[in-house]
Symmetry: C2
Subunit: 312 residues, 2 copies
């Protein structure tokens, strides 16, 4: 698959930070950015821009806050653009400086559909500061169709650059992805559509490919799939699949070997049965993450039954 | 997805046996069969029917040979039928007894396209003995189209029950799966089509679902994906996806917890980077399996380059 418009947005450090409280060593983050740049990856998302009045810097590492100095310490100006995520309600507008003074090129505003007005307010502010802006509507598998339609209609009136289809719970398979991709593409003409998938059912890469086939051009990946719970579509599979000659999978393969194989054994993101169960049942991964820490004597089968029964 | 015609063929012990020289403990195999029966899985494939004159019983465990007494020791008559694989050229016809005297219900003849005449000869013999017969054309991603068409044409003239689309190298994604599913369905009218996928690119479940959407009714899975190298579509994901009320995922989840999580750490099937590289490059997994045992100082990136260069 080769469309020059396709862009890979690697979110290893941002989504992966949810597994280690954003405590990556600086040297490692520097090497990750370098490997992604050498592989031709278009964007590297280095973390969240969270308000330090809401979150403690003792409890969380630097990539939850993404101070300009920290970003410049690990990234450098090149064809790989720095992206940062801004959660609706967790950002101090006073922290946001003009794009001309920042190494950040893209802000991605993460929102639930019900908070779309706040997301648009934040997006407008960021757009006025000169950034590329994406809005990521999270947990689409829990959104009622009319609310999704209304959120997309509102986004169509903005001058934002991208709107993201986000399967936070790893619930979707090809048919609903195709349906939603068609909907997003039709609803916000003139904007790029992105897709961010979770791997609870080993479908993150497959669903991303379905999105690409439908015309989605912004695709999220993370190295070795590192991300919350079941993790994400892997960047190395995207690099292996996309035929754009600027991409080269080798630097990412080597950084996996250096850091991520061991890290995965320690932090256990990926296809684990509790996460699979949450995905099959269209549930937030929080109870699965709790079960991974302590099963309290429950079996996998009992955990499945518990989640089914909670619905009642 | 619920079509009553859909059948799950679990091949944990058969394909998984390629990772441990078919040395599963009898007690464990018994529990696996029981869990699959309790989950409503339609077929349980317990191994290969290999000729003991060609393979040593010292070197390989019982599930490479599948003696009738061994099968009866672990399986019992129920709605879950016993399946066994017979590789073309590795079977002693003298070992094959009438179906009426065997607990085996289904023989799956594994062949490369170029040996289709031998496969048909063996299949006819098994059909005459009273078995259900499938022919699995392996490594379809390496078969020239006219040779595949000819093999399917020859199979269309037989009275076999199923023909399998097998992505041995884990190379395919949705579009070629759809193309091949259409081809198989059109080429052997009146027979069931099956699909067996490998997970090198985390696409085994996704591709199996694409097959189901196209009309394929026989779907291979294995518990926790256990199988050669990157392993297979997982049986638990199939059970989670298929809405046939006879299926129940819980017994399989519990057997995963009891045996397969630990076994996977030891034997390392699944998404490992050397297997991913082989899949992306459409290669037999043998060099990746050798690299997993000893990298000889090579990095993942260098192994990728080596496989690319071998093509030249």
């Amino acid at each position: 698959m080769y469309r020059p418009e396709i862009k890979i947005v690697d979110c290893t450090i941002r989504d992966g930070g949810l597994m280690n409280d954003h405590r990556f060593e600086r040297g490692m983050v520097r090497e990750v950015f370098k490997a992604l740049a050498d592989s031709g990856v278009d964007y590297c998302e280095l973390g969240y821009r969270c308000d330090k009045k809401q979150y403690s810097t003792d409890q969380f590492g630097p990539w939850k806050f993404c101070d300009e100095a920290d970003l410049r310490d690990v990234a450098f100006e090149c064809d790989t653009k720095v992206s940062v995520m801004a959660d609706v309600g967790r950002v101090d507008y006073g922290d946001l400086i003009p794009a001309s003074e920042s190494i950040i090129k893209l802000y991605r505003v993460a929102t639930y559909a019900k908070e779309i007005d706040k997301a648009i307010h934040l997006g407008n502010h960021l757009k006025n500061l000169g950034y590329e802006v994406a809005v990521n509507i999270m947990a689409v598998s829990h959104v009622l169709e009319p609310e999704l339609d209304e959120a997309l209609r509102q986004l169509s009136t903005t001058n934002f650059d991208m709107v993201y289809l986000v399967d936070s719970f790893g619930y979707l398979y090809s048919e609903p992805v195709q349906y939603l991709a068609d909907k997003y593409l039709a609803a916000v003409p003139g904007k790029q559509i992105g897709i961010h998938c979770h791997n609870n059912q080993q479908l993150a890469f497959a669903n991303t490919v379905e999105g690409i086939i439908k015309g989605i051009n912004y695709v999220d990946g993370s190295i070795y799939g590192m991300g919350r719970a079941a993790g994400n579509c892997t960047t190395e599979l995207l690099l292996g699949f996309l035929k754009n000659p600027k991409y080269n999978v080798q630097p990412v393969l080597d950084i996996i070997q250096k850091y991520f194989v061991e890290l995965q054994k320690d932090l256990k993101w990926g296809y684990e049965i509790p996460y699979m169960i949450a995905g099959v049942l269209n549930k937030h991964p929080r109870s699965a993450m709790a079960f991974m820490k302590s099963a309290n004597g429950k079996t996998f089968g009992e955990f499945y039954r518990q989640l089914v029964d909670e619905e009642a």
